[in-house]
Each structure stands twice: as structure tokens, then as C-alpha cells.
């Protein structure tokens, strides 16, 4: 292979390393109205009266909007294929505000100064209600967070606003009672993870205008242009045909921008005033009113027989969706599907969950999407089980973990075609000298070192749901414009997709120009989420390229008066006997009308399966027995993502994901104050890891070949975040015998338990 499985530079690197104005806020027109939001200081309240008369009269103020100015039609901001699993439980602005930070008033004006001045004049009276902050109380509380009559769900998922339930279900596979009878060892524990923030460096930002055809034009830092078009249509009550959404370069997403967090506000302002409008969330807004991970408390019961076979797994997840149900019913499912499936040979398993409303900021999609919380819980329990059985946790895994040809009941009984997890574990153990060093080694001065391990899997797109299409146009000089609707949020997917096209068309990579993503110009794509782009969109690109190559052969045959069988294509030249036709000349002849053909192809792809990538992580920690401080010395990650389309890009995905996972494990705390507001509302208090916090990160790949993916590829984007929390938790246990079952694992918690 010439172009895939090679580490070419990202096609947009020059503009990114020289600071070119390529992001939403950089390209917004200077005359755009500045849009700001007044947010509720109360976690649960009714907005009784909003005095806006002074503000509205201020020179330079374009509009001041309250709940009485917005359409009374509920929608969801979750970016999902229609009909969404998330309930329709939002207005743009609601009389009933349900978390501290919920927008109450939208103010738009000519400058930040005038808008700030107007905000100071606006008085809001609230009827403050008791707030429901603890998810454990949700189902029995007398506080009803969604008591509105127009709450509805397209798809029944067990939701019941009367009990503050977004979604609820139980599934059982096999005979649980019988399976427990085979267990000589059982661990039953509960693990608590928090509503971590994606914290992409570019906050939420959008600008909107009315174009020359009177349509609403939305430019936004979004992973989901096509879903945003529908969400805005729902929210504003205008037809989708009147909306166009595009995204420029993005400063990161990690799932945060799989919800329409910022788009509705400037869109409403532009819809009402006809003027261009822009919103740029502050970091504080991004940390208090956005789309973080679902806080979860997961109870795991797992049992094994004396011979080391894991026999039964029972998981119960309580998931905190916060004030609105975005991504609730779907996220929780991954707790089981991507974790119990790691041990597909258990006799029986059970999974039950309740996803509840509380008066906290609503959750959304964050890299890993439930698999992460589930991995922390199940892999921690597997480690605890190994300790109870007094065996090496890596050996318990090697005996029980998923392998090629296993059938996964939670993956629609898909038979695993590609899995090198066994090689991943072997390599990781070798890289970290696991056998000799996983148990505590006292290095003196009160410091002890040890290691911990976890394995994980994810999916590659949502099987049978995600749809991606690609269009290819052949141009003069034989260069290709590749149109996709996926959204490179910095991952390099535009480059990777160009590599797929270059390989399939046998053209140089410089000849492939990628255009993404614009709901008017791009072919349909669900968007870049669920680890779908390399695998699902990649396959669409591959198929569209194949069709283009076929079209070029047919066209060349006509021009050279031969059959396609007589043709060969190499170095951009078609040859038939002694006749030659360059690709460039072929296009020129087509453009002269010598052959009547449109040199365009388009292919829409949907995969019935979602082949899992796999990974093992081994954390090496040093714990200070006098202070409880945990220092991460080294993290080894070995990944099976099928064939790496661009190994460098895959490596950075892995390294970055691991460090996000480390942040979740050790640093990123979410605390609420007595007024129910998030305390960690700045990067001073929400501590994402810096480069001194993490030791060394070492990543290797153990290639497998996924026959349903483009050139053997599976996904890489999400699987990489899952292992750090359980691996580090067990490393701490192996070092000092302290078992922490809540995140983040702070020095004071280790210290307290050592006493």
C-alpha cells in the first residue's frame, strides 16, 4: 500500500502551525452582533418576571429575548440520527430553569460593551424551588424536574418524568442463578465516576447570518452539521430547507460538540433581527453549561470458579443526566455492551440501569460515551476479583478475555473478525516488565511503586444506524475534490480519508482535495462521533473511489477506442497497447465534450456491524506513603485498531486519549457549592493534566485486519480513553493496599485510607 498505513502530515498542517485564521471566531464578520446569555443563579426556579425595558432602549442593543419570545416546541440538542433516542425536553429558553447556568435571557448588541451594559440593567425575579442535586435521590424525590405536559420521547426507552427517569431498562442473558452457583469467588462493589468535561481548547462558538437567498446560514464549531440543521429547525420552527450549517477548522470536540450547545442562541437572534450574530462561550460557560460526561455510579457483581473462569457478571448503572436528557438512553447502554463483551464466555450476565434527571447541568457525549464509566467499574471489579483469587490480574484476563471468532451477544451476535487483544496484552506486559514489577516495590524514602492493568473495547460507528456518504469529482489536471460530511475536529480525519481515496484511486495524495462539511454542499453524514469517521466514512470514500476508477476506465476506453480490459492505469496514465492517455488529458477531453460523461461519483455507506477496536493499558505509579500523593511514572498502551490508516495520527489519538483518561482518574474534580453551582468553573479549578503531570506515555499497535473496514481499518478515537482509571486504581492498590472506588483519586483519599 502506497498511501494508507503511512504517516503523512495532516493536509491542513501549514495553516495550523502558523496560526492562520481558520476557526469560527477568526472568520466571523466583524459587524456580527455580540450575543450573550444571562444565566440562572438557581438550580431549580420559575422565572416570574424579567424587566428588560431599559435594556431594550439602550443604543446599540438589537434584541433582548426571554422565554416568552421563543417557540413553545420541545426539542433535544443531542446530535443523533432521527428519531433521536434522547427525549424532547427543552425550549431555547424556559420559564422553568433547571440548573445553575441555564440561560434565561439572550441579549444581542453591536458590541460587547453595550451588551454588558444592557445585562446590568435587566432584573429577573425567580420563584426559587428546592433542588434535586444527588442522583441517588432522584427516583424517590418529591421534586419533579420535568413536570411539563409536552415532554415526549420518539422512542420509548423507559423514561418517566414522574420519577425523574430519562430511561430505564433491564436485560438478562442466560440463567443468573445457575451461573452464581458455579462461582467460588464473588466480588460485589460500587464505582463512582464524575461528569468530566471534554475541555477542548476552543470553546463553543457559532455565528449566524441571513444569506442572499434569505436562508439562515450557520457557521459553527460542530461535529454534527446535519443534526444541527434538524435541531435548529425543531427549535426555531422553520423548515430545514431554510437552514445551512457548515463548520470551519475546529479546536477540538471530544464529543462536547455532538450536542448543539451554542448554535440556537445566535440563530434565534438572526432569525428575529435578520442580522449577523455571534456567540463565543467563555471557558466558564463551557465548564458550567455544556455537555459533559454522565456521572455514573455502577454496581458490579462478578464471579469466577476456582479454575479461573469468569462465570457471571451483573452490572447496575445509575446515570446522572442532569437537567435534560441528552444522550442519556444511549450512553448508558455502552456501560454493558463495550465491557461485558470483553468477557463473552460468561454463563450469564445481567445489566440494568436507571438514567435520571437532577438539577445539575445536562450531560452529553464525551469520548468513550458510557464505555469509559463501565470500563472503570468492570475492570476495577476484575482486578479486585483477581486479588481475591490471589492470581495475577493479567492472567485472569488472558484466560477469559474476548478473542477472534467469539460471538458477542451484546453486539447483535456479531462474530469477531479481527482481534489482537492477546498480542496487545503480551506486548504491554513485555514493555512494562509486568511480571517482575506489578507488585509493590519499595524504592525508599516512603515511596512505593507498582503497576495496574485494564483492557477495553469500543465500537467503530453505530452498527446499522450511522450513514456516511462521499462524493468524488474529477477535475482538470486530474485532481480530485473529495466531498464528505464528516467533521475533522482536529483528529486528522480529512487527511486520513484523503489517504483512503489516494490509495483506492492510485493517485498522489496531493491530488486529493477534501471539502468538509457543509449541509448544502456535502453529501449526508451523521457526523464525526461514535468512532465512525475512519471506519464508516472511510468505507464510503473507498466505494466512491472504486466507482470513480471504474468511470475513468470506461471513459478512457471510449477515448482510446478499446475495451476496459485492455487498459492499465499507472502514474496517472492510461495505457492500451501503444496508446496512452494521461488522466489530465482525459479530463480535458471530457470538458471539451469529446465524451459525454459527468466525472462524479457518490456512494452512501452503512455498516451492519460495529467492529470493536481493543486496547490494554498498564499504569506505573509511585505512591508517597507519607502524603498519599500518586505520581504516574509511565503509561503503556497497546492498541488494536485494525490497520492504522495513518500510524502517526493513530498514535497521537492514543496518547491524547490516555492523558484525558489520566485526567479523569487523578485530577479532574467536579464539586458543587452550597448554592448548587459548579465550583470547578475555570481551568484554575478544573485541572486537566499538564505536561508535568503524566510521566511518559508509550503506545504501540498490534495490527489486525478488519475485513469490513477500509483497507482493514477499525476505529481509534474513543477506545483510548478508557483504561487509565481502572489501571491506575489497581496500581495504587498494588502499591499501598488502598482501594479507591471513586474518581478522581486524590492524595487525601489515599492518605485517609492508609491511616
Amino acid at each position: 500500500m502506497k498511501h494508507v498505513n503511512t504517516s503523512i502530515r495532516k493536509k491542513d498542517y501549514k495553516s495550523l502551525v502558523t496560526g492562520k485564521p481558520v476557526y469560527t471566531d477568526d472568520i466571523a464578520p466583524k459587524h456580527a452582533l455580540v450575543v450573550k446569555l444571562i444565566r440562572s443563579p438557581h438550580a431549580n426556579a420559575i422565572v416570574r418576571n424579567v424587566k428588560t425595558d431599559i435594556a431594550k432602549k439602550l443604543p446599540g442593543i438589537a434584541c433582548v429575548l426571554t422565554h416568552s419570545d421563543v417557540p413553545k416546541k420541545r426539542f433535544t440538542i443531542a446530535g443523533q440520527t432521527y428519531p433521536e433516542m434522547s427525549p424532547y425536553d427543552r425550549y431555547i429558553l424556559d420559564e422553568h430553569v433547571r440548573y445553575v447556568g441555564e440561560p434565561v435571557v439572550i441579549v444581542a448588541g453591536d458590541s460587547e460593551e453595550v451588551v454588558d451594559k444592557a445585562i446590568k440593567t435587566i432584573q429577573i425575579e425567580y420563584e426559587v424551588l428546592d433542588a434535586l442535586m444527588d442522583m441517588r435521590d432522584a427516583m424517590t424525590s418529591s421534586i419533579k424536574i420535568h413536570d411539563e405536559e409536552d415532554w415526549f420521547a420518539h422512542i420509548p426507552t423507559g423514561g418517566n418524568p414522574e420519577k425523574n427517569l430519562v430511561s430505564s431498562a433491564t436485560q438478562v442473558h442466560g440463567d443468573m442463578d445457575d451461573a452464581w452457583k458455579h462461582c467460588d469467588y464473588i466480588v460485589e462493589e460500587t464505582y463512582h465516576s464524575l461528569a468530566n468535561q471534554q475541555t477542548m481548547m476552543e470553546t463553543f462558538q457559532t455565528f449566524t447570518s441571513i444569506d442572499e437567498f434569505g436562508r439562515l446560514n450557520v457557521v459553527s464549531s460542530t461535529q454534527i452539521p446535519f443534526h444541527v440543521r434538524r435541531i435548529l429547525s425543531n427549535a426555531l420552527g422553520i423548515p430545514k430547507s431554510d437552514i445551512r450549517v457548515s463548520k470551519p477548522r475546529m479546536g477540538g470536540g471530544f464529543g462536547a460538540k455532538q450536542s448543539s450547545v451554542s448554535e440556537v442562541y445566535p440563530a434565534l437572534v438572526t432569525h428575529i433581527t435578520g442580522k449577523c450574530a455571534k456567540i463565543v462561550f467563555t471557558r466558564e460557560e463551557s465548564l458550567i453549561a455544556s455537555s459533559p460526561r454522565h456521572e455514573m455510579e455502577i454496581k458490579v457483581k462478578i464471579g469466577a470458579s476456582k479454575d479461573g473462569s469468569i462465570q457471571a457478571i451483573d452490572m447496575y448503572a445509575l446515570s446522572n443526566n442532569g437537567a435534560y436528557g441528552d444522550h442519556g438512553p444511549t450512553t448508558v447502554g455502552l456501560v454493558a455492551t463495550k465491557n461485558i463483551s470483553l468477557y463473552p464466555n460468561v454463563k450469564a450476565f445481567k445489566f440494568a440501569y436507571d438514567v435520571v434527571y437532577t438539577n445539575r447541568m445536562a450531560a452529553g457525549a464525551y469520548r468513550g460515551y458510557g464505555a469509559t464509566q463501565g470500563c472503570y467499574a468492570l475492570e476495577s471489579a476484575v482486578n479486585e476479583l483477581a486479588h481475591k483469587m490471589d492470581i495475577d490480574p493479567s492472567i485472569l484476563r488472558e484466560k477469559n478475555m474476548v478473542k477472534e471468532s467469539d460471538v458477542l451477544p451484546l453486539f447483535n451476535n456479531d462474530k469477531i473478525r479481527s482481534c489482537s487483544l492477546d498480542r496487545c496484552v503480551a506486548t504491554a506486559k513485555k514493555m512494562s516488565d509486568w511480571d517482575n514489577t506489578w507488585k509493590a516495590v519499595d524504592v525508599g524514602n516512603g515511596k512505593v511503586r507498582a503497576k495496574g492493568m485494564a483492557i477495553t473495547m469500543q465500537g467503530s460507528g453505530i452498527g446499522n444506524i450511522d450513514v456516511a456518504s462521499a462524493s468524488i469529482k474529477m477535475n482538470d489536471d486530474g485532481f480530485v475534490t473529495l466531498h464528505v460530511g464528516s467533521t475533522d475536529m482536529g483528529t486528522g480525519s480529512d487527511t486520513t480519508l484523503a489517504q483512503v481515496a489516494a490509495e483506492a484511486l492510485d493517485l498522489s495524495i496531493d491530488k486529493i482535495k477534501v471539502i468538509s462539511a457543509d449541509t448544502d454542499a456535502s453529501p449526508y453524514d451523521t457526523g464525526s462521533y461514535a468512532s465512525s469517521t475512519a471506519y464508516v466514512t472511510g468505507m464510503a470514500v473507498y466505494k466512491a473511489s472504486e466507482e470513480m476508477l471504474e468511470l475513468l476506465y470506461e471513459t478512457a476506453a471510449k477515448l482510446l477506442n478499446c475495451t476496459t480490459d485492455e487498459l492499465s492505469f499507472e502514474d496517472e496514465i492510461f495505457t492500451s497497447g501503444d496508446k496512452e492517455l494521461s488522466l489530465s488529458d482525459l479530463v480535458t477531453f471530457v470538458q471539451q465534450g469529446k465524451v459525454n460523461v459527468s466525472l462524479q461519483t457518490s456512494y452512501s455507506h452503512k455498516s451492519p456491524v460495529s467492529p470493536p477496536p481493543f486496547m490494554v493499558g498498564i499504569a506505573s505509579v509511585e505512591v508517597d506513603k507519607y502524603t498519599g500523593k500518586v505520581s504516574l511514572l509511565d503509561y503503556v498502551g497497546v492498541v488494536d485498531c485494525g490497520v492504522a490508516l495513518n500510524p502517526n495520527i493513530c498514535r497521537v489519538q492514543a496518547e491524547g486519549g490516555i492523558v484525558q483518561g489520566i485526567g479523569m482518574a487523578l485530577f479532574e474534580n467536579i464539586q458543587y457549592n452550597s448554592k448548587n453551582a459548579v465550583i470547578n468553573n475555570s481551568l484554575m479549578q478544573y485541572n486537566i493534566p499538564n505536561r508535568q503531570d503524566i510521566g511518559t506515555i508509550r503506545v504501540e499497535f498490534e495490527e489486525s485486519y478488519e475485513s469490513t473496514g477500509p483497507f482493514g481499518a477499525k476505529s481509534i478515537g474513543e477506545v483510548v480513553i478508557n483504561t487509565p482509571a481502572p489501571a491506575i486504581a489497581d496500581a495504587i492498590y498494588n502499591a499501598v493496599g488502598v482501594r479507591l472506588r471513586k474518581l478522581p483519586m486524590l492524595a487525601q483519599d489515599v492518605f485517609e485510607q492508609m491511616k
Binding site: 504517516s7 502530515r9 495532516k10 491542513d12 498542517y13 501549514k14 495553516s15 495550523l16 502551525v17 502558523t18 496560526g19 492562520k20 485564521p21 481558520v22 476557526y23 477568526d26 460593551e113 471534554q198 475541555t199 477542548m200 481548547m201 476552543e202 470553546t203 477548522r249 475546529m250 479546536g251 477540538g252 471530544f254 467563555t282 471557558r283 466558564e284 475536529m489 482536529g490 483528529t491 486528522g492 495513518n646 502517526n648 495520527i649 498514535r651 497521537v652 492514543a654 496518547e655 491524547g656 486519549g657 490516555i658 492523558v659 484525558q660 475555570s682 481551568l683 484554575m684 486537566i688 499538564n690 505536561r691 508535568q692 503524566i694 511518559t696 506515555i697 503506545v699
Partner: protein, 154 residues
């Protein structure tokens, strides 16, 4: 008040408020490489040079820069690309949003520190946050860049 500030060797004259921050002055003047990732001087994205020293422009009044020489990444395009090539060779440019502040500080570091160790590099750049790369690819790029510039000097 009307201020004159020298930015990338050109004098910019602009009416500013007493509380106008340098980052806003620069972005208003078309220096869009200067990015804002927080409001609390924690992320390093807004790093520029004032009289040759790396500072956080979100934490620096525009008026304070009067009479001083400001350099943004726009003024260091050649150097940025020289280092940027090494960053791109690791795919560590990623989303790019933190690149300008990071690269400003890397270039500064390479002038200030002679043959720094990995720990010294990490300490110098600790204030430059990045959420995409996990920092390892950036470190590889820095090592390779420093090696190449050392080679050039010999």
C-alpha cells in the same frame, strides 16, 4: 485612549479602553493567531512576545504594551513553520488551537535554554495546555527540532 503599539515591526494606532487586554487589541488588529482558551491565565494559548519575553496577552493590558515591541506568531511565520514541520511530522499539530501559543513558547525556550533535558522542557512549557496530543508528540517534535538546529549550527 489612543495608543501606538509596535506589533510585528509595524506600529498599530488604535483607540482602546483603559481595561482593554492585549489579546483583544491584537485580535482586533487582525492577529488571529492569538487564541483565548480561558480567562484565568491558565492555558497559555494567548502567549505572545513583549520585548522578547513570552507573556500571556490575556493577562496584560494593551496600554502596558505602549512603547514596547510585541511579536505574535504572524511575525514569526518562517520560524513557526520550521518548527511546525517537526510538529506535523508527529501529527502533533492536531486541532491546532493551542499551536500558536505553544510554538511561541517553544521558540522562546530554544533561545533561552541550552540543550534542555526532557524535564526542563516540560517545566518550561507546563503552562501551555493541550487537550489533543497528550504532550508526547509535542515532546518528540521539540527533540527532533532541537537536534536539527544543533546540527545546523555545527
Amino acid at each position: 485612549m489612543l495608543v501606538k503599539i509596535k506589533v510585528n515591526a509595524k506600529v498599530i494606532e488604535k483607540d482602546v479602553q483603559a481595561n482593554t487586554l492585549l489579546i483583544d487589541f491584537l485580535r482586533d488588529s487582525g492577529m488571529y493567531s492569538v487564541k483565548r482558551g480561558c480567562e484565568t491565565s491558565n492555558c497559555g494559548l494567548c502567549t505572545v512576545l513583549v520585548d522578547g519575553k513570552a507573556i500571556l496577552s490575556c493577562n496584560y493590558l494593551a496600554a502596558r504594551a505602549v512603547g514596547k515591541e510585541v511579536v505574535t506568531l504572524e511575525g514569526l511565520e518562517t520560524e513557526a513553520l520550521e518548527f511546525g514541520n517537526f510538529l506535523a511530522d508527529e501529527a502533533a499539530d492536531q486541532c491546532g488551537f493551542c499551536n500558536p501559543g505553544f510554538i511561541m513558547n517553544v521558540l522562546c525556550m530554544c533561545k533561552e535554554l541550552d540543550n534542555p533535558s526532557d524535564d526542563e522542557i516540560k517545566e518550561y512549557l507546563a503552562g501551555n495546555l493541550c487537550r489533543c496530543t497528550g504532550y508526547e508528540g509535542q515532546l518528540r517534535a521539540i527533540r527532533n527540532y532541537m537536534e536539527s538546529t544543533r546540527g545546523g549550527q555545527q
